[in-house]
């Protein structure tokens, strides 16, 4: 598993609007996940199980080590509604600080 103490990411695309817009930054860390695992309503960085790229989504439910990830902007989001539950080990880090442009 990837461990990120603290890492800054830049947001691409619009599926997390209105919480996060394209071009915003977030600071994410694996430490909260080590302590208590992903929790409902956390914004997390995860590995897309199909495309293997890093995505940012919100945890909408956690069940038996698996998480359901959705974009806040559900009309413009490819997420667990398309690829289903993902293993909690695919979740790398949790967003701890959001740095917004506007």
């Amino acid at each position: 598993m990837t461990l990120e103490i603290i890492k800054m990411y830049k947001i691409r695309d619009r599926s997390m609007e209105p919480a996060l817009h394209e071009g915003d930054f977030v600071l994410a860390s694996s430490i909260p996940l080590l302590i208590s695992g992903p929790k409902k309503s956390d914004i997390v960085i995860a590995i897309d199980p199909e495309k293997k790229m890093k995505i940012i989504k919100r945890v909408s439910s956690v069940e038996n080590g698996k998480v359901f990830l959705t974009g806040d902007n559900s009309r413009l989001s490819t997420d667990s509604r398309n690829f289903g539950y993902v293993d909690a080990s695919c979740v790398i880090s949790k967003v701890v600080i959001e740095i917004k442009n506007k």
Binding site: Y9, F25, V26, I55, G71, I99
Partner: protein
């Protein structure tokens, strides 16, 4: 955090250290699909075969007729390709594994349409283009069934005088 100065600092860090991008991504699942376009293209292929046959009967093949013939063939070629494109989009983007489970003939039908459309490009037989339309109509029926919509096969108002599968609304 909505402080402009913090954002400026983050941007400066980003410029210097190039932070990794993370995707709040969307494949634009626009949800706008319709087997109408594939049927329309298949009708056009039939119509071109009809015109080609008619012109082929003509005794005179002057420049004017040759020009017409080339245009018919070009349009036929293009629309056979349009059938393939439209069907590929439905197959790849609209249909889900559960649809293929419910309609096990789906994958075979797509394959059949690909082959038949190529056949229409290779030749000028109306029989082939009719078969293409029939296969596309079968797919249209499946498409509407997956949405729980009944279909009706009705006469088109095109010079092909062949039918079209419409959703029953």
């Amino acid at each position: 955090m909505k402080s402009p100065s913090v954002y400026k600092i983050a941007s400066a860090l980003d410029r210097k250290f190039k932070s990794e991008e993370v995707y709040a991504h969307c494949d634009i699942p626009c949800g706008i699909y319709d087997p109408y376009a594939a049927q329309l293209a298949a009708h056009t292929v039939i119509r071109m075969d009809m015109l080609i046959e008619e012109l082929g009967k003509s005794q005179v093949m002057d420049t004017e007729s040759r020009n017409k013939m080339i245009r018919y063939v070009e349009v036929k070629e293009q629309h056979a390709e349009n059938v393939k494109h439209e069907v590929r989009v439905l197959w790849g983007d609209y249909f889900k594994p559960e649809h293929a489970e419910k309609f096990p003939e789906l994958h075979g039908l797509v394959w059949e349409i690909m082959k038949k459309a190529s056949k229409c490009k290779q030749g000028t037989g109306i029989k082939e283009s009719e078969e293409l339309l029939e296969a596309v109509k079968k797919m249209a029926v499946i498409f509407w069934k997956t949405k729980g919509v009944d279909t009706v096969e009705a006469k088109s108002f095109y010079p092909t005088e062949r039918t079209f599968v419409y959703p029953k609304v």
